[in-house]
Amino acid sequence: MANDRLRALEDVEKEIAVILQCAGNIILELSKEKHNASLLDRQLAQFTSAVNRVESELSSQIRYLTQVATGQPHEGSTYSARKDCQMALNRAEYARIKLGELGRTCEVLLDPQT
């Protein structure tokens, strides 16, 4: 859910770049002696639609935030779960180290040359 909204905002950033790109292409095309009318139409349509999309998407995001935001800080945390998981991984690591030591001890005892 959070990722969808953030992804939508990243798409808006790409649309803003498209707006500037289309504006530049239109002016570049107009600067030529012979204009390509179909290219001009396409670029203009793309420019207009990108501007409308950016405006509507950002307006909807601001409307959603107006409904949802409280101004209070969020006090949730994943600290306890992270700590428990870290302890479990520490237990596993400790067991691995001890088994490693046991294995080395057995190898030393079984190898008559060392």
């Binding site: 959070a2 953030l6 107009l30 994943t78």
Partner: protein, 200 residues
């Protein structure tokens, strides 16, 4: 223009400022682009010479193009501020992200503990056999303070079935942690009674 960027006190003012910035930037892009297109039109009658008019139009187009780029940059900044505001204040998505992360961490922890428990059970079985072998041999240096695993199991079995004899040596009876010989495992008796005889 810079005073509009000062952070307001309340979230309503902040969101209203976001709206205003959005409207201003979109209006700036559209107006400046429209004016550039209008300026591109070649007019026959001009108040000044054609060269002067051309220079003026050139400068005006430069300024309007710079305005369009500035408005685009301002929109990018607005998107960045909205992302930040969303991450900090969108409580439904923050709650969901926290609960998802907690679930992942709990799953990982349970899996880790389950594997450790399985490993412990396997090693306990091997340890039982190893201790039986070790403490029944003549190389054992056991002093009776620690109860070996096999003896713990033997004692538990003897407590569960009180009809069986619980000891054959007086040393074993006196020493609380002493070995408990079992009729069911006669192979261990020799080793344990040997150990008991070695105690002072």
């Amino acid at each position: 223009m810079s005073t509009q960027r000062v952070l307001p006190q309340s979230k309503e003012t902040l969101l209203q400022s976001y709206n205003k910035r959005l409207k201003d930037d979109i209006r700036s892009i559209l107006d400046n682009f429209t004016e550039i297109i209008k300026t591109a039109k070649v007019e026959d009658e001009t108040q000044v010479s054609r060269a002067t008019q051309g220079e003026q139009d050139h400068y005006e187009m430069h300024v309007r193009a710079a305005n369009i780029v500035r408005a685009g940059e301002s929109l990018m900044k607005l998107v960045s501020d909205l992302k930040q505001f969303l991450i900090l204040n969108d409580f439904p998505s923050v709650n969901e992200a926290i609960s998802q992360r907690n679930q992942q961490l709990r799953t990982l922890q349970e899996e880790c503990d389950k594997k450790l428990t399985a490993l412990r059970d396997e090693i306990a079985i091997d340890l039982y056999e190893l201790e039986e072998e070790y403490y029944s041999s003549s190389y054992s240096l056991w002093d009776g303070a620690d109860l070996p695993l096999c003896e713990a199991f033997h004692r538990r079995d003897s407590c569960a079935s009180p009809g069986t004899s619980t000891g054959t040596s007086a040393d074993g009876m006196e020493d609380i942690a002493g070995p408990v010989s079992q009729e069911s495992t006669p192979g261990n008796l020799n080793g344990h009674s040997t150990n008991a005889a070695e105690h002072p």
